[in-house]
Symmetry: C2
Subunit: 332 residues, 2 copies
Amino acid sequence: MTNQAIDVLGIGNAIVDVISQADDAFLQARSLTKGTMALIDAARAEELYALMGPGIEMSGGSAANTMAGLASLGGQGAFIGKVRNDQLGGIFRHDIRANGLTFDTPASTEGQPTARCLIFVTPDAQRTMNTFLGASVALGPEDLDAELIERAKITYLEGYLWDAPAAKEAFVQAARIAHKAGRRVALSLSDPFCVERHRESFLDLVEAHIDLLFANEVEICTLYGVHDFDAALQKVRGHCEVAVLTRSARGAVVLSGEEVHVVDAEPVAQVVDTTGAGDLYAAGFLFGYTRGKNLYDCGRIGAIASAEVISHFGARPEVSLAGLVEYRLGHT
Amino acid sequence: MTNQAIDVLGIGNAIVDVISQADDAFLQARSLTKGTMALIDAARAEELYALMGPGIEMSGGSAANTMAGLASLGGQGAFIGKVRNDQLGGIFRHDIRANGLTFDTPASTEGQPTARCLIFVTPDAQRTMNTFLGASVALGPEDLDAELIERAKITYLEGYLWDAPAAKEAFVQAARIAHKAGRRVALSLSDPFCVERHRESFLDLVEAHIDLLFANEVEICTLYGVHDFDAALQKVRGHCEVAVLTRSARGAVVLSGEEVHVVDAEPVAQVVDTTGAGDLYAAGFLFGYTRGKNLYDCGRIGAIASAEVISHFGARPEVSLAGLVEYRLGHT
């Protein structure tokens, strides 16, 4: 399938979530603060992983989740991200390929092991997360497959990677290759803290290289240093071809030139776990966009995909999003 | 104060709300369906009014409520509406003047009595409403005070009156006078059923005479015959200078040419009675607009005024909106 058309190519962290049960005493003995997310180093990751009871491994990572959503919608996707040639790296590669996605980034054979997020679930259903970025942030320009980028209608960049200098360089280079081939480049701002750390350079990136920008309310306000959503909305207009601003239960606003759409959130019987909400919104939107849907319908597909993923644990869809979207769009 | 500047002149129904308590047996004996609003004729109004226990009379009417809100915000307002020279007509005139508003429309000396809305509140806090439009719908072009219209920055029309042929003629004439004087004309769609009855002529009215349009989500969707808010939003753009679309707890969207603002609803500790929400939103918006505020701030003032009126019974503010707005805008 070397020359097949690709709808979206995601570039992001290649992370495996490892989930196991633990009790409060376990957390205390390892100085873990219940309910929080901490960045950890390699030694700590190995130590905690060795101590974990039997668990489940689920591939994660923001852009990778988006690609899994795209595949579930029936889109053709590919992923570039860095794993190590170790067991978790093998799991990540297996999962993403099992979704029908192209993933050929060579695993590193030295340096940090594959990124993981070790999640301890206590009996009160709280999740204590420990993220080790590992091999993921070793991604550099040398990992870019120019031919893949040229084939993809959209190259989608995960903001989290902006913390790593080599990955940053890879982003800019990927954007240049895509634009030279007449393709589009999208960016997800990923996280308000990440935006805060790199405000100026994100603004430059958006201005110079981004056609489609995905951000939630806090992220877009942080990017422009304003305190209310409407002010951010005014700032972003005209700075990229399409801006998709998500607001959780308040739905989303999609801007493109003079065009503005207000897209309501899809009803959800019970919100179980909001992890992956933004990733799947982007998946739905990008799927619609690459299929030539109008911007409102792109937003609706995003909302439907997002509603599915927050109604259960985990950041990847549990049902065929293609069927779900067909049903929902057909019944409104 | 004959030549003083006027911010907004409202033209609408002059209605007095008469509220008293009743029990279920009373409702049943009079064939009243609890929780509904019914239009009633003169005979029925007299009959029910005679049967009412001791109650409270509060002036109402959609545009009149808006004018009361405007006055509470510190704006200069006037009202044109038709009462009869009877007791309720006297109450309406007293109340609206006591708010500091100009109201000089002569009372009719014959024909139907003053409009009233007879409201029975049952012990379960439900309100059963019976509206008799009476003298209100006798408003005609002869009741227009051209000099008053010329002095008002904005003439604000209440859609409810579009049911009455003479009032309809008065609307168009008022719009012509206002525009000839270089003033603005605003319209509130008031009610989805009213819009449904007069869709085509409302569309013509908006196209030909309206600069500022106020509508809630159901009304704007009804006007354009579409099923979702975003579709209505696309339709209304470019058809009036400013469109203010309210969505209850979802806030409002303000459109003006290429300008678009998303204004969130103000938080309310407890929603007690939503009557007057749209009227007071318009009050706040128009106040801001006539004071040269930007469209986002106009929407914010509308949201603050609206939040106040839904936090208690009755459709007119219970506190000084001027003070409330100063406090709220200063603390966000």
